[in-house]
């Protein structure tokens, strides 16, 4: 692979040769890296899209189709293309094309690093109906129960949001807007609650009163997938 290089000689190599060998190896390495990037990019993009789709289906029970929406500064419109950002949210529809709810992504500081999560919200009943952690680095064995502990995750399956969600000591949940915190991981539990409350604070007033806008026929449900 290095035919361009001069054959080695007994004499001390000149600086041209040193620069040339570094340049050639750097160039070849660059080519290989571009090659592997281009070769794996479609799979990686697809994996990420599938991951997101599965998360949306998980946090919105009964949903079989989804559509990306975005807030354009004034109202929520159909997202055409481009990368997802903090102004993107997802609308979920059931098999009969009836609107079920929104999946909202939100993030904030956890115990160790940023926690990124997605939660399902039903505007009709003003309820959170599901929560899925997308990214976190909480302490293994303690904080990571925010996604490993099924009982904690189930807290978010039917949760009132008014006036706002509160984490209470495990076993003392009485109100519909309270969740049982994880013993030994209070900070992580409270972080999840705070992240959802912040997501609500940002999104609730932006959401339209009725069902969200639908894309043109044919353009609809581009992100379609099955459960």
């Amino acid at each position: 692979m290095s035919n361009d290089l001069v054959q080695p000689s007994a004499a001390e190599p000149g600086s041209t040769r040193l620069v040339a060998s570094l340049a050639v190896s750097g160039f070849l390495s660059g080519l290989i890296i571009i090659g592997i990037y281009v070769a794996t990019l479609p799979t990686i993009t697809e994996n990420k899209a599938r991951e997101l789709r599965q998360a949306v289906f998980k946090v919105l029970p009964g949903v079989s189709r989804m559509q990306k929406l975005q807030f354009d500064g004034e109202r929520v419109v159909v997202k055409q293309e481009g990368k997802d950002d903090e102004n993107t949210l997802y609308a979920g529809y059931d098999a009969n094309d009836r609107f079920v709810g929104y999946a909202i992504a939100s993030e904030g500081p956890g115990f160790q690093d940023t926690i990124r999560l997605l939660y399902g919200y039903q505007p009709g009943e003003r309820k959170v109906v599901g929560m899925e952690i997308l990214e976190s680095r909480e302490t293994p064995g303690l904080g990571d129960k925010i996604y490993k502990d099924a009982a904690f995750v189930a807290n978010f399956d039917e949760l009132g949001i008014d006036p706002q969600i509160v984490a209470v000591k495990k076993g003392t949940k009485t109100e519909p807007n309270e969740i049982d915190a994880i013993t030994g991981a209070t900070i992580s539990s409270k972080a999840v609650v705070r992240i959802i409350n912040e997501g609500n604070g940002r999104w609730l007033e932006r959401l339209p009163a009725s069902a969200p806008p639908l894309a043109e026929e044919g353009e609809r449900y581009k992100e379609q997938g099955t459960r």
Partner: protein, 217 residues
């Protein structure tokens, strides 16, 4: 170092697995060793990625050793290693996104694993392709064995599982500390102790045998 017979090439491989084990004897590559061994699967994945990078780099360095000027050899080695690491990184991300998520930043950090650069400088750049590859296979294999030993112990004690399968049933209370960083240090320390104790016993035994032979002879 002219090695000729077939058995010596085999020896080059075996030495990395046990006698010169990169972790237990040379104590190299401690960063991934401690960071990603909180489960057996992570340890194996890290071991395989390192295996790929080390064998690939040793092969390339050894086959191009006449072409690399010695003044810039370290930079060229790093370029070669970094290329293999990037290939491993993207391949893992595309094929095993879950494992990649767990290993996170530690895949790109294989570049900085001193064991890999060390093998290029100390061995691959001075030997033929065959010996270099055998040496790399042995060293990477030894590294993987060490990672697995640590990962398995930590997962069994820290979660009561091995490869995600529950071992002790409901009543086992996991030792959470074992999957946290201190557990890594404790386990590594105990394994090193064991390794050195066995080595010392063997040495004493040899001395004893030699003295006996002398006394009798």
């Amino acid at each position: 170092m002219a090695v000729t017979s077939k058995t010596t090439a085999y020896d080059e491989m075996l030495k990395g697995l046990w006698r010169d084990n990169p972790v237990f004897v040379q104590v190299l590559g401690m960063c991934p060793m401690l960071a990603v061994t909180n489960s057996a699967v992570n340890a194996i994945a890290m071991g395989l990625a390192t295996f790929f990078v080390l064998v690939g780099s040793s092969f390339l360095v050894s086959s191009m050793k006449g072409l690399i000027p010695k003044q810039v050899r370290i930079s060229v080695y790093v370029i070669i290693i970094a290329t293999f690491v990037t290939v491993a990184d993207y391949t893992l991300l595309a094929l095993f996104p879950v494992v990649h998520k767990e290993l996170g930043a530690f895949i790109p950090l294989i570049v900085a694993n001193c064991m890999i650069l060390g093998r290029q400088e100390a061995f691959a750049s001075k030997h033929t392709v065959k010996y270099a590859v055998m040496d790399a296979v042995g060293m990477a294999g030894g590294f993987m064995i060490a990672l697995f030993a640590l990962g398995a112990v930590r997962e069994i004690l820290g979660e009561g599982k091995l490869f995600g399968l529950s071992l002790f049933g409901e009543h086992f209370e996991p030792w959470v500390i074992m999957i946290l960083p201190p557990g890594g240090f404790i386990t590594l320390g105990l394994l090193l102790l064991l390794f050195n104790w066995v080595g010392e016993r063997k040495r004493q035994f040899m001395v004893q045998v030699a003295e006996q032979a002398k006394a009798e002879g």
